[in-house]
Subunit: 379 residues, 2 copies
């Protein structure tokens, strides 16, 4: 194996697959990066068994300045190899494996020799043969992930809740996550209806990495589903994630259909006040903030306190406030996450009673995006 | 006590004194910020007993928009108070202490009440009455600190070596630090000779904070010395540090006066190569990099290896290389720190033998700046 390549182009691909490579794996070869070199391209592979990423750098990509002298395969220690490549002195570098699994990395006057592993011992990636492909706009899909993944559970006691539940039926694509204290649900209508119905649970951790990988790029993301795997295609890069097995709880019955008190307010205004109140609630043992709603004054009074440190009270004017007066207490961190997901929007909050979950929806798109929070009993 | 002030101006002062406030103190009141309000100014004080910082915000500073309604003093929990002030909604805020030690902080609709402490219980700052003041250009002094403090020891077993040794005699100002494996020494000539001779050891930690506080500002720094304290004056801010007691070892005899091999090379070129070699030495148990100097070829070959991971070799061309051929091994992290202190300069390295300390000086200013490194025996 021997090739010469532009270091920056190589580093970009290296960084992409490194997202899947963990140093804390029980399978030593998975701390490595697999390189497969043919006459026309280099394929990079990284995996932690939950997520696998594969990408290619092609000879016909001129900026990569890739010339292959001899094809071959090798697995190199990922973290260490990556540090070396980033610190080499020249714009280009040459990597050669002559005998055994020792790689020579040269750039300018610097010559490294590092010990690799046999690429034949590297686990095979799952094969996903599926014609049923869903295409999503990258920025829309990233937004769906980022606004739902906040509500996944990080407790392994109910593993199914550590994922986001995606359902696809006709042109309706729904994502929902709940940790049983709060819930976030997004719906979109696809331009082309899917031919099959799908119902899958994708681990939150995989989605967080995927969303980072989509980045600010708004290119399309293609999704292919198999029995226990999902494959996302982003340009030259394939992102595989395992699926969570089991039945996701029926969340539709959790969302209240009626309300006794509704308030419209700007999301960032409410967010700033909740952030201030949580400064105090975080200092107390039970981390609770209280809102008192008064219809006559159209006012929401936010109250946080800590017996040791002090208290804060803030009176906000709502855009509209209808229905019964109410006093409700909740974990402010859940409300902060929910409010951040609405950006600069105006939102509508709907309450039933002090002990029933309340909901938040954007005033402009109330049907397709809902956040739900369960209050805390304080008496 | 009651005053109204522009929040940004207040935060700037708060950040300055916060450098001296630790959350890990055994004296509870020192986790607090002391505010002393008179009709003309607010004085801010923070201290961890090693370092104390005092600064003022004046009514006649127009951008501070400070109006004092009622003078008074209070100690407020620093970290928490600072978080509140930074999150308030409006440009201005009002702080009032009505009865006891409860402070009301209001800004727009937000009203905080937080528990403070009696300012009379706050320890007194040392008093330094000294006419003998040394004035240093801020950027020069910051540079002296940053280039010597790298060599202080972080081991409390010999506390005296955790400080930088400053001596002042006539117009000669010298700073030296050593952890017994390496040494860094700077000298400058003052524009005005000092009237008294001084010899003090200032803790490295104090100097690091002081250097950060000087920042990119090149305003003058005034230094006043007392028996066990030093005071630095930076504009409106007073920075106190305790001094280390004891006799600093005589370092002058450590610096070799002769050499058998000398090499001139660009500091950043050598630094990059040593950084690459240290990637491998860090993976091995003894963290050693070897340089082989060959006069005839004017070449320096840098070699690092780790039995498990691999090896690196790099051949650099020196600008000049005179004297005997030499092979010398050392801790690359010491050499990296030393090389960084020379920035983009050309430097001269002088060696005696494989087991004797070697020195680095800038080619352009060899008299006033020297770094010394003790090699490692590898056979």
């Amino acid at each position: 194996m021997k090739f010469t390549v532009n270091r920056q182009s190589f580093i970009k691909k290296l960084n992409d697959v490194s997202r899947a490579i963990s140093t804390k794996t029980t399978i030593p070869i998975l701390t490595g990066l697999k390189l497969e070199v043919t006459d026309s391209e280099i394929t990079f592979t990284g995996s932690d068994t939950d997520i696998s990423i594969e990408t290619t750098l092609r000879v016909d990509d001129e900026s990569a300045e890739l010339t292959v002298e001899e094809p071959g395969n090798i697995v190199l220690p990922a973290r260490f190899f990556s540090e070396i490549v980033k610190r080499l002195p020249e714009a280009n570098m040459t990597i050669a494996v002559k005998e055994g699994f020792q790689a020579n990395i040269t750039s300018g006057a610097a010559a490294f020799t590092i010990n690799g592993l046999d690429a034949n011992s590297y686990p095979h990636l799952p094969e996903i043969e599926s014609d049923d492909e869903v295409t999503l706009a990258g920025d829309v899909f990233r937004d769906i992930i980022n606004t739902t993944v906040i509500a996944v559970s990080n407790q392994e006691s109910r593993p199914i809740l550590t994922g986001v539940h995606f359902t696809l039926a006709g042109d309706q694509f729904t994502a929902v996550a709940t940790d049983s204290h709060r819930l976030s649900q997004r719906k979109i209508t696809l331009p082309t209806p899917a031919t099959e119905t799908h119902d899958v649970i994708i681990p939150g951790k995989s989605l967080v990495e995927l969303a980072r990988m989509i980045g600010e790029d708004s290119n399309d993301v293609k999704m292919r589903l198999a029995e226990n795997q999902v494959l996302f295609l982003l340009g030259d890069t394939s992102f595989y994630s395992r699926l969570l097995e089991g039945n996701y709880p029926d969340t539709s019955r959790l969302i209240p259909s009626e309300s006794d008190t509704t308030m419209e307010i700007s999301a960032p205004t409410l967010l700033s006040a909740i952030e201030r109140a949580s400064l105090l609630s975080h200092e107390s043992r039970n981390n609770v903030v209280k809102i008192t709603l008064k219809g006559e004054e159209k006012s929401a009074t936010i109250f946080g306190n800590s017996p040791d440190v002090g208290a804060v009270e803030e009176n906000l004017s709502a855009i509209s406030l209808d229905g019964q007066d109410l006093e409700i207490s909740f974990n402010p961190d859940y409300l902060k996450d929910a409010l951040r997901s609405f950006g600069q929007s105006q939102i509508k909050l709907s309450f039933t009673s002090a002990l029933r979950p309340f909901t938040l929806v954007p005033s402009e798109d109330a049907e397709n995006f809902i956040q739900l929070i369960t209050p805390v009993r304080t008496f």
